[in-house]
Amino acid sequence: MTAPEAPSTQRGTTNGDVAVRTTGLRKVFGSLVAVENLDLDIHRGEVFGLLGPNGSGKTTTIRMLCGLLEPTAGTATVVGIDVVKDPEGVRQRIGYMSQRYGLYDDLTVRENMRFYGSMYGLRGAKREARVQALLDELGLRPREKQMAGTLSGGWKQRLALACATAHQPDMLFLDEPTAGVDPSSRRLFWNWIYGLASGGTTILVTTHYMDEAERCQRLGFLSRGHLIALGTVGEVTKAFGQPSIEDVFIELQRRDEGQALETGQWPAPPGHKPQATGHS
């Protein structure tokens, strides 16, 4: 497993070791508040897990950080670049793997990789070398000439990962990358992720698998758009007095669903950091 080169030190990546910083980030769709007052720092080279039930605002957060959605309020910088003021600057430096993978079904495995590599300016021998390396590292070689549309879930996930990292981004956003993927592919995936992170790539990943959550260096819990917990696995479980992350997850979900139904108010969770939730 070869990790990408260490991130370049071109414009943006100043500000010490902060890869992502959001301040009062908010997104409203009509009358629905998808993300509310999000303050979040993610460190360079960190594997950060964003957890939360469906509809809690994980995907919306990632989309704002990738410049796919414009925040209603607040600011966000990714690798030191403001996502609203310079979305194109951010895009050159990040990789994004969406839940739907974004692969072209009617292109082959190799063509998909070539295409996405080229979109980031990779050309000729450089692109070829990168495609070859990814084919080997992700075990895609035997599927090289297969149409992406005929791949099964695990293979699609590997291909999507290859496409999202073809240009060796400094920051990688992965939105539920392992949904519907078999255990061996998941293991390969996580090994690959750790390899990237040790090479200095920052990773933000969302997941519903608690064993995966426990592999992250730090976690953030989102519930109905609010960041309600933040910290390492140990910190979060300890603060909630629960034996595992899964118990924390279920407890949080139960609590805020009940609370929201009864009072329309949001609970102040134990271990809650004031600057991390901004809700008052």
Binding site: S98, Y116, Y120
Partner: protein, 373 residues
């Protein structure tokens, strides 16, 4: 600079579109097949000229010359002589009952006039309730008299021997193919191009690849160009197929410059593609895109002068027709193909098309954002 152009994401976009297009045999077949099928349909099945119009003959002259004229009329193919009548009452009844759509009346002094070198006149009575039929009849009358004139004229003849009343230019037999083919070309271009552009963009949105494209560093204009340029190529293939078929199957003349025609096609294609992009920003699914494309195209069929002459429309319909790009493209096509017109006679239409293209590009660019909002 050169390096920047080489590294532009536009190239992989174009490459990808072309590979996808090549793989999608069905769509590709439709894109070339639709023009061919439409052309054959319009050219063969929908005959706007009326042939074999049933006609009676009232020959009061009963001479060699009158029979020759009757024969000349029948020879045009527009008339089928179904019988003779002996007086005007019988003739009137035949037409009123609908047995005959036309009658040829040759007066008693027809041959005498010819011999005395006076202009001989014959009459064609037409059931004018059917304007297309009457046009055909008028045209046949003109053709027949011209044929007889040519046959009768002695070398030193001064002036016509038979009177010629109608002379439709450019399309002497009022063959609808010649009128229709330039129209079909424009209609096919605007319909298929706006439909495939809108569907192609909506498909990317449906499959989630548009989201992936947006996070790449490609600019908004690069993304738009990458989506429409390949289809411009399709447009040129289509118009070439139509011109070849039209010319070799339907004998549509190409009197003007093909180069000029291809140049004038560019703003029309651009306008159609931008329309497709605009449609893609207004719909959610491919089915909706298809439906909206057809809805938008409908006025083009009815009001552009494609099938019905605009001169015969109410003023309001003429105004709407004036706001449709096809209206101007039709004039260019008919002008260059049938009349051999140069740029000097069609520059206004070309300019109007350029304005349409500019407006539609601007509108769709304003709506087409590089975000998911």
């Amino acid at each position: 600079m050169l390096e920047r152009i080489r590294q532009s994401p536009l190239w992989p976009m174009l490459w990808k579109e072309l590979v996808q297009m090549r793989r999608d045999r069905f769509t590709l077949g439709m894109l070339v097949g639709i023009p061919a099928i439409q052309l054959l349909l319009f050219g063969f099945a929908i005959r706007m000229e009326v042939r074999h119009l049933p006609a009676v003959v009232l020959d009061e002259s009963r001479t060699t010359e009158s029979r020759a004229l009757t024969q000349a009329m029948a020879n045009t193919g527009n008339f089928d002589v179904i019988g003779s009548v002996s007086d005007r009452d019988q003739m009137r009844r035949a037409i009123e009952k609908g047995d005959a759509k036309a009658a040829v009346v040759i007066p008693p002094d027809f041959e005498t006039d010819l011999k005395r070198r006076r202009t001989a006149t014959a009459q064609v009575v037409i059931d004018a309730a059917d304007p297309l039929a009457s046009q055909a009849a008028i045209s046949a009358a003109a053709l027949a008299s011209a044929a007889r004139n040519a046959a009768l004229a002695p070398p030193a003849a001064r002036g016509p021997r038979l009177e010629v009343r109608v002379r439709p230019w450019y399309n002497p037999a009022l063959e609808s193919a010649i009128y229709i083919v330039p129209g079909v070309a424009g209609l096919i271009l605007t319909l298929t191009l706006s439909a495939i552009t809108s569907m192609s963009i909506v498909r990317e949105r449906e499959r989630g690849t548009l989201e992936q494209l947006i996070v790449t560093p490609i600019t908004r204009s690069g993304l738009m160009l990458g989506k429409i340029l390949p289809f411009a190529l399709v447009g040129y293939v289509q118009i070439t197929v139509i011109l070849l078929l039209g010319h070799f199957v339907f004998k549509v003349p190409i009197r003007g410059s093909v180069l000029l025609l291809y140049a004038c096609t560019a703003p029309f294609i651009l306008a159609s593609l931008s329309l497709g992009m605009f449609i893609s920003t207004a719909v959610k699914t491919q089915v909706q895109a298809m439906q909206l494309s057809f809805l938008v195209i409908l006025p083009s069929v009815l009001l552009s002068g494609f099938m019905f002459p605009r001169e015969a429309m109410p003023v309001a319909a003429q105004w709407i027709g004036g706001a449709i790009p096809l209206t101007y493209f039709l004039r260019i096509m008919r002008g260059v193909l049938l009349r051999g017109t140069g740029i000097e006679a069609i520059w206004k239409e070309v300019l109007t098309l350029c304005v349409f293209a500019a407006v539609l590009v601007t509108l769709s660019a304003m709506r087409f954002r590089k975000s998911l909002d």
